[in-house]
């Protein structure tokens, strides 16, 4: 019986090998026909060869899986398609990564409220790094000008534009806190947002349906919605991209701070922490007892915003 099974398997293998090219060709023909058809619908006829390739890629992109269900090969394939699409659609040479998290890393962040001067270099660096929509002036970070004694940003001024720092005020930055017990993840009906093993809460922009439940669920205003097609001037696009990070978003999807996943998984500081001229932003591996972030947690007065909600953010405020 065992040998019979083996024989059957071998036959199956042979058939597959023999039929491989013809079946693939067959599928390819269908795809090109379908692509040409859909391209024709979009452009109103006469699709050139470049547009048919574009349409075929778009077709494949449309039917891909949720990122978390993809095999490493499938991840590489979709990245390759997106890189090619950027070239075809916008004549842009981008480098996209699907770099996996490092093991034994849990990212954490600390913000020094007695050092921040409200210069907002972090906000500008974030906008540039993450290809944020310039039309709607989308920003992941908001800096609040606060009165002494208040620790709730809702009491502060989040739209100040005058010389800073102002005597007697302090400044408090708010962004996604990458909560361990994140309400936004629970609210998502399509599992388009989740926490990576290194603690970063990410969005699969292609799986997001734009319902904005996560935006409503987040108690920290950490999420942003693309009401229109995001616009970034051609020469300002950051071409160093990550699938789960700063790749170009589209109309109708959520986005948020990703601790600059495209930078931090390469060992770099997030753009905000790198840009801060006052050293108010501390970033590092929470599991490393020698890291700066652990020193802050062990030696400084720290607190978390809305601790009582039980969201367990990985973002602490501290003071000198």
């Amino acid at each position: 019986m065992g040998s019979g099974n083996k024989k059957k398997e071998q036959m199956k293998k042979d058939n597959m090998l023999a039929g491989k090219t013809t079946r693939r060709d067959f599928m390819k023909n269908i795809s090109i026909a379908a692509a040409a058809g859909s391209a024709g619908l979009v452009t109103g006829g006469c699709a050139g060869s470049a547009t048919s390739e574009e349409a075929a890629l778009k077709w494949e992109e449309y039917f891909k899986k949720n990122y978390r269900l993809m095999t490493p090969e499938e991840k590489d394939e979709t990245v390759a398609r997106l890189v090619r699409l950027a070239k075809l659609q916008d004549n842009r040479d981008i480098q996209m990564s699907d770099q996996e998290p490092h093991e034994n890393v849990l990212f954490g962040y600390a913000f020094n409220i007695s050092r921040c001067k409200g210069y907002m270099d972090c906000v500008e660096a974030c906008v540039q790094e993450n290809n944020l929509d310039r039309n709607s002036k989308t920003q992941y970070i908001r800096i609040f000008e606060m009165d002494p004694g208040k620790l709730d940003p809702t009491t502060g001024d989040g739209k100040f534009h005058h010389e800073v720092p102002v005597e007697g005020k302090f400044y408090m930055g708010v962004q996604c806190f990458h909560c361990e017990n994140a309400p936004c993840i629970k609210a998502c009906p399509t599992k388009a947002t989740w926490m990576e093993p290194d603690g970063i809460v990410v969005v699969d922009y292609d799986w997001c349906i734009g319902c904005r439940y996560c935006l409503a669920a987040c108690p920290y205003w950490g999420r942003r919605f693309n009401w229109g097609d995001p616009h970034v001037p051609h020469d300002e696009v950051n071409v160093d991209q990550h699938y789960l990070g700063n790749r170009m978003r589209m109309k109708g999807v959520m986005e948020k701070c990703t601790f600059c996943v495209q930078r931090t998984r390469k060992g770099k500081l997030p753009a905000c922490a790198n840009a801060c001229p006052t050293g108010s932003r501390v970033f590092g591996n929470l599991l490393d007892p020698n890291s700066e972030i652990r020193f802050v947690l062990a030696n400084k007065k720290v607190f978390r915003f809305k601790e009582e909600l039980g969201t367990d953010p990985k973002f602490w405020y501290f003071m000198d």
């Binding site: 390739e53 890393v105 020094n112 100040f160 800073v164 929470l286 599991l287």
Partner: protein, 212 residues
Amino acid sequence: MKKIILSSSLFSLVLGIMLLPGQCVWAGQGAAGHGAGSVLEMIKDAQHSLDPMRVESAHQLSMKTVDAQMPGPDGTFKVLARKDQITRYRCSVCHNDKPVQVQNGALYTHSDIVINHGKGENKLACVDCHDNKDRDSLVDKQGRKIDYDHSYQLCGQCHFRQKRDWVGGAHGKREAYWAGERVVNNCTSCHNPHSPAFKTKMPETYSLPLDE
């Protein structure tokens, strides 16, 4: 020539439909983060942490650094070098016995430097930090010579709280990388030693009003 693999997409379409009701597989890890308790518990229970030196992409600093002359939390660490940044170092090129031309007097007397360091009337004088005898060096209050690259030892005499935080990582900042070798900014990377307080200025950008 582009390779188009449609079979995989059709397969994934079918698979996607099949998997739609089966998403409970993810529920555990998705909703409750890492499923290992709170962040503080995870920190407490952590047995292993990534060796930061193993992140290969974090070893590309182009700036000149020196080894700090004191231990950090994890043995030695590096500090951005200062002497390269001082345009007119070495000081002894001018500060010697040779006469200087008078038409360059304004430049040679450091008339561009404004000292605003110290409280109220008790502003510091040049020789509070600079060595009067050896101009290529700083000097601390015990008369020890201090290299410009290691000025944190001088600043730390008065600003010892800031120095303690700087050594640990709560004051100042790392240069470019959280991983790799620990390289931190020197005191003088951020502070002008002659006028160390940060200036008031317009912010880099602004935010639109909250839509509430």
